[in-house]
């Protein structure tokens, strides 16, 4: 008798589970999230004016950018180039040991020869660098415990290390103020003086 009851219960249980199995299902989805990184400029101030009397940069230029990634240890290079008659060339230099950095803006309406940029980087003379003007530029902003900024004074660019997944913001500031001595003169033709900033993962 007991065996019959037990067998009946087992049959009922099995049949019941079979009935449920027909109505539900379990599927395991395995979606691997790949590592990704993203860079983009987010605005800030990207234009200013130069005093035609003194060569001073009237207002600060400060383009801002954002680094996003879902990995630990992203590395971003920040470089700046200016156009010349010989093409684009590195526009950043420092006065030794990475102490003070300068950016060279060149006249996009009347491109200078490459020698104008070279003259400023070596020992600027007022007649040696037409259509190129240099201004101090600050290191990109560092975010506490998020990013670390270093300057490569051999190749003249910055590296930004972002420690953790997520978003980090930074900028490159060219403060208002005087041009580097002997880089502004009346042989700098009127026009738009430009430099192009490139940020890229390395």
């Amino acid at each position: 008798m007991f065996n019959r009851i037990f067998i009946t219960i087992i049959i009922l249980l099995v049949s019941t589970s079979q009935a449920f199995a027909a109505r539900t299902n379990s599927t395991f989805l395995d979606a691997d999230v790949e590592s990704w990184q993203s860079l983009n400029f987010t605005g800030g101030t990207i234009s200013s004016t130069i005093s035609c009397g003194t060569g001073n940069l009237i207002t600060t230029i400060r383009p801002t950018f954002r680094i996003r990634s879902n990995i630990f240890g992203s590395n971003v290079r920040v470089s700046v180039a200016s156009n010349t008659l010989s093409g684009f060339t590195n526009a950043i230099f420092d006065t030794g040991g990475g102490a003070t950095k300068y950016v060279i803006l060149t006249n996009s309406d009347d491109l200078p020869p490459l020698s104008s940029v070279t003259n400023i980087k070596t020992s600027p003379t007022i007649l040696g660098n037409p259509n190129a003007i240099a201004y101090e530029v600050l290191d990109p902003d560092e975010q506490f415990l998020r990013t670390n900024v270093t300057y490569d004074d051999v190749n003249d660019y910055w590296n930004i290390e972002k420690f953790f997944p997520g978003t980090a913001n930074s900028d490159l500031e060219i403060p208002s103020g005087p041009a580097l001595s002997n880089t502004f003169g009346t042989n700098d033709a009127s026009g738009d003086y430009e430099a192009t900033i490139t940020i890229s993962f390395i």
Partner: protein, 210 residues
């Protein structure tokens, strides 16, 4: 059926997430910054060679005067400047056009010492017509040599209507404009009877066309 629908929804969501990650995963970006520089235009007097002495017996300048300028501009395009000269007369030192160009180029220097000021008529007598010493007391005419055409600086023809010389400049940087006043007085403009001792002056102006 319901499970298949849920499964499709989930799978579709994953596809959407995956594609959206790819779409904004830019690995580099560029941004150009610009600072605009306007035209620079200035003219500055060199400030040297502005005084001399007139010999009492002959009226000749003992050393040349050199009213010269430096033009500074960052604009390489063609630009016009005008040079004018005036001499003061009367107590208020009112300016009268002081260049004579009919038979050479001369400039009238007028006495500015108190009580010996020139008259407008005396300056006009030196500048135009036939000067006579009795009509131009306290005004003396001297040879004036303006900066000649040089490189990209071109001296135009005398503009009698506006009593000025036009210059055309077609280069950037600094450009010298060296003028001189020298020599013996223009005939009929100096006499010890009519030209009193004192400081004789004229003002030369070089300016960009407005």
């Amino acid at each position: 059926m319901k499970n298949k629908f849920l499964l499709s929804l989930l799978a579709g969501g994953i596809v959407c997430l995956a594609t959206s990650q790819i779409s904004f995963a830019a690995t580099s970006a560029t941004q150009t910054v610009t600072a605009s520089l306007d035209a620079v235009r200035s003219v500055v007097g060199k400030g040297t060679g502005l005084t001399s002495t007139i010999t009492g017996a002959t009226g000749a300048l003992t050393s040349p005067l050199a009213p010269s300028f430096i033009i500074s501009t960052n604009c390489p395009d063609s630009q016009t400047l005008y040079m004018t000269a005036t001499a003061p007369y009367g107590v208020g030192a009112i300016a009268e056009q002081a260049l004579r160009t009919s038979d050479g180029i001369y400039i009238a220097l007028a006495n500015t010492s108190s009580g010996k000021e020139a008259t407008q008529g005396a300056i006009q007598n030196v500048v135009g017509g036939s000067p006579s010493t009795t009509s131009n007391g306290n005004v003396i005419g001297y040879l004036f040599t303006p900066q000649a055409t040089s490189g990209n600086l071109t001296l135009g023809t005398w503009d009698s209507g506006n009593t000025r010389w036009p210059y055309t400049l077609a280069q950037s940087g600094d450009t010298d404009v060296d003028n001189s006043i020298s020599g013996s007085p223009l005939s009929g403009t100096y006499s010890t009877d009519n030209d009193e001792c004192g400081a004789y002056q004229a003002t030369i102006t070089l300016a960009f066309a407005p």
